[in-house]
């Protein structure tokens, strides 16, 4: 048996033994365990599952063991992921520190910074949020204005960030700030970590079309930030941010399946809400055609993820493929939600009412949520610009 097969068996046995049955049914939004100083658990099983995974280092399987990770390479980590998926094991811990900041600190941080931040992320002790966008700087992120002035032993930060997801619940924020107002746009920016408890930091929630207010405007009013919180070199924050953005896009491409939504698949919903005719076809041929177009595109995207992975494993990676995944993944997720809305008809339209069951209510919430997918983490239009210029080499 190959090393990988062996590993698969071990992983499988461990998961079977350690993942409580209640942690193997699809997770709802409320049941997600988010990192943080004041973590709460929806159940004792969720706590147990989190602690067991944490102790294995499998909240962050690919990070170094000495920093709280699992020390797995990509192939082994993929096996863990596959086995978890097969058994339906829930993601034990959610946090932007895991998905975005951690990889950047591992790449750009000093030893002290790694020691300070990485183990806490791995153990879910700190919840992170991302402070990039500003009212005047979205797609054109490099025009950001939040200032960090050098005051000798600290930076003095003033300005505002917007669309900061979960800023009101986070312990720390990683920010892009302007440290040299005279330099060219990209060259005067630094990457700074700020404790949300610091004096002068405040947040106001913003209500979304889905009715939730998961993002905030974040204000910095004469906030003193220690110099040690600078990641990478002064005025070189843009390269840190770019490397981090790669992780975000990958996440966004994959997140489609993880968004809040009903428990049924579009096909199951179609059979229930529309029904089949005697030939076994959905009775609404228009919706059937929309559904099959989505299903076929979805499969093609899945196969492309797989091809990209295999190419990396075989050392023939085509670096252009990951660049397309954010765009197609999020656009197709939006299409799925549109199809689902069409399938449920007016049963998808209830906002809150005993008349509608949870799946019906979640259908429109998922649909509304999906609209953000092609905006967050770089809009679809910006992704197309990147493909046109970087992949196809088209001129400016």
């Amino acid at each position: 048996m190959s090393d990988l097969d062996q590993f698969r068996q071990t992983v499988n046995a461990w998961l079977e033994e350690n993942c409580p049955p209640s942690q193997r049914i699809p997770i709802t939004r409320e049941e997600q365990v988010w990192a943080g100083k004041n973590k709460t658990f929806p159940s004792s099983d969720a706590k147990l599952w989190f602690e067991r995974m944490r102790d294995k280092g499998w909240t962050v399987p690919e990070w170094p063991i000495e920093l709280g990770g699992g020390g797995l390479d990509e192939q082994h980590a993929k096996i863990l992921k596959e086995e978890m998926k097969r058994l339906g094991c829930r993601t034990p811990l959610f946090d932007l520190g895991i998905w975005m900041l951690g990889p950047a600190v591992l790449e750009y941080g000093t030893d002290e910074q790694r020691q300070q931040h990485i183990p806490k992320i791995a153990r879910g002790e700190v919840r992170w949020c991302q402070g990039y966008s500003e009212p005047g700087a979205g797609s054109d992120l490099a025009s950001l204005q939040t200032r960090a002035e050098d005051k000798g032993d600290h930076f003095l930060v003033n300005g505002t960030k917007i669309w900061t997801t979960n800023a009101d619940k986070a312990d720390w924020i990683f920010c892009l700030v302007r440290t040299d107002p005279d330099a060219k746009k990209q060259e005067g920016i630094s990457f700074l970590l700020i404790d949300m408890d610091d004096a002068g930091v405040s947040t106001t929630p913003i209500e979304l079309i889905s009715g939730e207010s998961e993002f905030c405007q974040t204000f910095f009013d004469n906030v003193k930030v220690p110099k040690a919180n600078l990641i990478g070199e002064l005025n070189k924050g843009w390269s840190v941010a770019k490397s981090l953005l790669k992780h975000e896009r990958k996440l966004m491409a994959e997140i489609g399946g993880d968004t809040p939504g009903p428990s049924f698949s579009p096909i199951q919903a179609a059979i229930e809400y529309i029904g089949l005719d005697q030939s076994g076809r959905l009775k609404d041929i228009g919706i059937r055609d929309e559904l099959v177009r989505h299903e076929m595109a979805f499969r093609a995207i899945g196969l492309t993820h797989f091809r990209s992975f295999e190419e990396r494993m075989n050392g023939v990676a085509d670096n252009n493929v990951p660049l397309i995944m954010k765009y197609v993944g999020t656009e197709e997720s939006k299409r799925k939600e549109e199809v689902l809305m069409a399938i449920l008809g007016h049963r998808a339209l209830g906002w809150y009412d005993d008349e509608f069951n949870v799946d019906e209510l979640l259908t429109n919430r998922g649909w509304l949520f999906s609209k953000a997918l092609s905006i967050a983490g770089g809009t679809s239009e910006v992704q197309l610009n990147i493909i046109a210029k970087r992949v196809l080499g088209l001129p400016d």
Partner: protein, 373 residues
């Protein structure tokens, strides 16, 4: 399941590319068209393809084949799509030899397959009877008459039907589908070759009381339909591979033009309206590559989901080849609608290829049904 070519397959693809570029560029098809070539392909080029092993590549070793698999042949066919190379490879090797390998008896296999492998025998599948692909319920009948069968009917859109020496005819028997091997010059057969938009070779073949021996029957009833379905799925995947090659070639030529043509004092490739459309085509092509590779590997691994993959690949490539050829014409402007520019050849081939073994509507309907809705 694998979605990467191995060393050998990559080598094969490169060799195919070199050969096709030097011997059979798009201008070779233009020549065949302009001189109204009676065969519609070059015998000499076909002989070279045979020498490169393309005719024997997927046949079993026991019958002089190389047993190299469809991942390899698909790579070759994809390359042939880039230069629109005309040859009997698809009709003879992919469609007909599959039926013989899957359904033929020992005698049929040992007589026919080595000749196909050696490039000595061209065959065509006589299948369609209406303006649209229809894979079952034939009106061409085969009625038992003593030890023989009498075939009656008319077959349309028979690929390479004008030049094949042997035909496989899909007929309706009392028990269901009957697949017969018939000498193309038998009494009662008349063939009319047609000149098509893509300059490739298609014929109408009439069967008027054509008498064949019972030994000409390859398979009948449910088995006959199953074998035909398998061959059609192999065909769908391979034609999708050809279309992928054509679409990639057309796309690359278009992107090159965007970087070359000046208007308003800048390269037209700097216009965002064109950039985004080009980026979307790139994305569609990347997804298409994955789908075609997986479908080819489904053939090699004899996977049960081959029918789904074949429909996925054919529907997708129908749509993507149409998109890319339309955009290619548009983005070239006036020169795009001239016969001088080769883009027109791809545009025309795209629409012909779409009609081979099912348009997108057919395959979406089939895919949905296969998935239970």
């Amino acid at each position: 399941m694998t979605l990467v070519l191995n060393e050998e397959q990559r080598l094969l693809k490169d060799t195919a590319k070199d050969f096709l570029n030097s011997a059979m560029p798009v201008s070779a098809l233009r020549q065949l068209r302009d001189k109204k070539d009676s065969l519609g392909y070059s015998r000499e080029h076909w002989q070279q393809m045979v020498e490169l092993g393309w005719a024997s590549m997927v046949l079993p070793e026991a019958y002089d084949g190389l047993d190299f698999g469809y991942m390899g042949l698909g790579a070759v066919i994809e390359e042939s799509g880039r230069t629109l190379a005309a040859s009997p490879l698809f009709s003879t090797v992919v469609l007909c030899s599959t039926i013989i390998v899957e359904g033929g008896n020992e005698e049929q296999k040992s007589i026919l397959l080595p000749r196909i492998a050696a490039g000595d025998l061209n065959m065509a599948l006589a299948l369609e009877e209406s303006p649209h692909h229809q894979p079952s319920g034939f009106t061409t009948t085969a009625i038992a008459d003593g030890d023989d069968f009498i075939i009656q009917g008319e077959k349309l859109f028979v690929l390479d039907g004008h030049s094949a020496e042997q035909l496989i005819v899909a007929t309706q028997l009392e028990t269901g589908v009957g697949l017969f091997i018939v000498d193309a010059n038998s009494t009662g057969i008349s063939r009319r070759r047609h000149h098509m938009i893509d300059s490739r070779n298609v014929a109408t073949i009439s069967f008027d009381q054509v008498r064949v021996k019972a030994s000409a029957l390859i398979a009948n009833a449910k088995r006959g339909q199953d074998i035909l379905n398998t061959a059609m799925d192999y065909g769908r995947v391979c034609i999708a591979a050809e279309m992928l090659g054509g679409a990639i070639e057309c796309f690359e030529r278009t992107v090159a033009y965007l970087k070359e043509r000046d208007q308003f004092g800048v390269k037209i490739g700097s216009f965002q309206a064109l950039q985004h459309r080009a980026a979307k085509m790139f994305i569609e092509l990347e997804l298409s590559k994955s789908v075609v590779l997986d479908a080819l590997s489904a053939i090699d691994d004899k996977r049960a989901d081959l029918p789904q993959l074949a429909s996925l690949a054919k529907a997708r490539l129908n749509d993507v080849f149409e998109l890319v050829t339309n955009e290619a014409v548009q983005m070239h402007g006036g020169i795009g609608v001239t016969d001088e520019l080769e883009i027109g050849f791809f545009l025309k081939r795209s629409r012909s290829a779409t009609q081979i073994l099912g348009n997108s509507g057919f395959h979406r309907d089939r895919y949905a049904s296969l998935c239970g809705y």
